[in-house]
Amino acid sequence: MKLTIPGEELMGHGNLSCQGCGGSLAMRYALKALGRDTIAVIPACCWSIIDGPFPYSCLKIPVFHTAFETAASAASGVSAAMKIKGKKTTVLAWAGDGGTFDIGIQALSGAAERGDNIIYICYDNEAYMNTGIQRSSATPYGAWTTTTPAKKFKSAPKKNMVEIMVAHKIPYTATACIAYPEDFIKKIKKAKGFQGTKYIQVLAPCPTGWRYDPAKTIELSKMAVESGIYPLYEVENGIYKISRKAKNKTVKEYIKMQGRFSHLTGEVIDEMQKNVDKEWELLIRKEEFYGHTKE
């Protein structure tokens, strides 16, 4: 039997992630795609812990742990160093959604506008998990977190960070999901081929924060994609391409698996479904429109 993803493991044993951690899987895949000649910059996030305490690290690549809002800016510095030294080493900025959508957005926007040569991967678990499940601007509408209690659940929609990155006109932006490692790995390898800032946002569910059985991490991740809530697509030099066209699951099926949505009523869920359908339609139109402009 041929393996569908690379066999080399650059994430060693004994890491400190919770059982069934999507972020841990995401890192395992990312390093398979990038290989050993990679330097990772990791800001405050679950991965500051998962990697292991001093003097240990579970990753078989060099890592620079940096301040919460500096994934992109510290990576820019490392990237400049590689350039002046004439090295081809890939510089990976690896940040959570909070470090990307919220506190780190300025540094990321700066790096993207300048075109600094980095691969920025945001593992999106849709809240500040390291600090105990507080809402971020990546938290979806309707979700419970410790700062958006069920009685006053999150009332703002998830920020569309992917489109913000596309608007920077960087060469490559993509979404991915840990349930589709072949697709994720393919996208990272593709990103590696571009000069400039590349942005990949990978959905990485958190059983602890989303309140579901850790065994369901992959099943739930698939559902996020199949319901169209987390569509997989890439934008290569402005051209949209949807990676998975099928949309055959409902919002209801997706959210009923998670405790963080257990307080929602039918009405709210219907509203959410309408929004997902609209966004999906919009994405299809974008693919069509930009596809035509290509020709």
Partner: protein
């Protein structure tokens, strides 16, 4: 070769001849010319560096930290609000033991908006683990940049050289720019033992429990202690090589005195004029110019205090709720040695108000009787 340049350009030339490899900086008055000049050096291929035009000072320091961790000589420059914005990353640079060097143009903090000089911006960063050098003139800005890299790379801590807004930053003076080969001999290429390197796979700055965090902090203090010696020996070597010797404290006419005046930065030049005049009148007074604030030269200060019976400190800064900062630090250095002489502390020149010879003479005259904790000179 002598060039007539501003303090700001002296800083830019300093970065250039030190062969900074990565520069990440953000403009702010009165620092702008430093980075403009570096941008033109890089654009004209006069300087082989990557200049990252970051979108903030916080990112500037983060990028310097990243570049330095990857084994490059990194440089930035800022002032006041910019330095304050960097604060978190100043700790990061020092705690990660990265010898980033920067110039900070001393500018008073807002509000209200101001661009003129005082030292509260840099002194607010006292406890971040950075070496701090207070320069008196453009030549010293240039010379100290070179020395700072040598010292900082040896002990593994970052260093900040400080120059007064406008008085130094925008005033042109002749500066001797030494031959590049001699500078290269004095300051060889930066090549740290530990860096971000795929063949070594170290993770830097990971979670550290109380079991070893404490020891890591002890190591920073030890490096600062080593810094005291290193500053002197590098300053001496610099003198041998280039003809200008530097140390922790510049002692100006401190032989056979009973009164010691303590100042820092460019106003020390005015202080020297005053000392000359008073010495001509037969007064036994000398000036200690504090070139280095961190590490604080305690022993040197104690030695100076031994031979006098009065010390006068002029601070262009204030620690609100307490007193002048150099004044505080100096007194605390003397306490454990039972040096029981009166120390007079003056606050002067905040927000760029002139400190004239007349002011300095006035303060010296006023320093009599029982010393007060704080005297606001020239308060309207």
């Amino acid at each position: 070769m002598k060039k007539v340049v501003t303090g700001n350009y002296a800083a830019s030339y300093g970065a250039k001849v030190s062969r900074a490899e990565v520069v990440a900086a953000y403009p702010i008055t009165p620092q702008t010319q430093i980075v403009e000049k570096i941008a033109s050096f890089v654009a004209n291929n006069e300087m082989d560096a990557e200049y990252i035009k970051v979108e903030s000072e916080h990112s500037a320091m983060a990028a310097c930290v990243g570049a330095s961790a990857a084994g490059c000589r990194a440089y930035t420059a800022t002032s006041a609000q910019g330095l304050a914005l960097m604060h978190e990353m100043l700790h990061w640079a020092a705690n990660a033991r990265l010898p980033v060097v920067m110039a900070n143009v001393n500018r008073a903090m807002g509000p209200p908006w101001t661009v003129w000089t005082d030292q509260n911006d840099s002194l607010s960063q006292r406890d971040t683990g950075w070496l701090q050098f207070y320069c008196e003139n453009s030549q010293e800005v240039f010379d100290t940049t070179i020395q700072a890299y040598k010292i900082c790379e040896k002990i593994g801590l970052p260093g900040m050289l400080v120059l007064d807004a406008f008085i130094l930053s925008h005033t042109s003076e002749p500066v001797e720019i030494y031959d590049q080969d001699r500078i290269d001999k004095f300051l060889p290429k930066y090549n740290p033992r530990y860096k971000l390197e795929p063949s070594e796979t170290h993770a830097f700055g990971g979670l550290t429990t109380p079991e070893w965090y404490y020891e890591l902090r002890y190591k920073i203090q030890s490096a600062m202690d080593e810094g005291l010696k290193e500053i002197e020996s590098v300053g001496k070597d610099f003198g041998k090589m280039f003809g200008r010797k530097y140390g922790l404290i510049e002692k100006y006419r401190c032989d056979d005195i009973d009164t010691l005046l303590v100042m820092s930065g460019s106003t020390a030049s005015t202080g020297k004029e005053v000392i000359d005049r008073l010495r001509d009148n037969g007064e036994r007074i000398g000036l200690a110019r504090m070139r280095v604030f961190r590490p604080f030269p305690k022993q040197e200060m104690r030695k100076l205090a031994e031979d006098v019976n009065k010390i006068i400190v002029i601070d262009r800064n204030i620690s609100f709720g307490n007193e002048g900062i150099f004044f505080s630090e100096l007194k605390s250095a003397l306490y454990n040695e039972n040096t029981d002489i009166p120390v007079y502390g003056f606050i002067a020149g905040l927000g760029g108000r002139d400190i004239t010879m007349k002011d300095i003479e006035g303060m010296i005259k006023k320093a009599d009787g029982k010393p007060k904790d704080i005297i606001w000179w020239g308060l309207k």
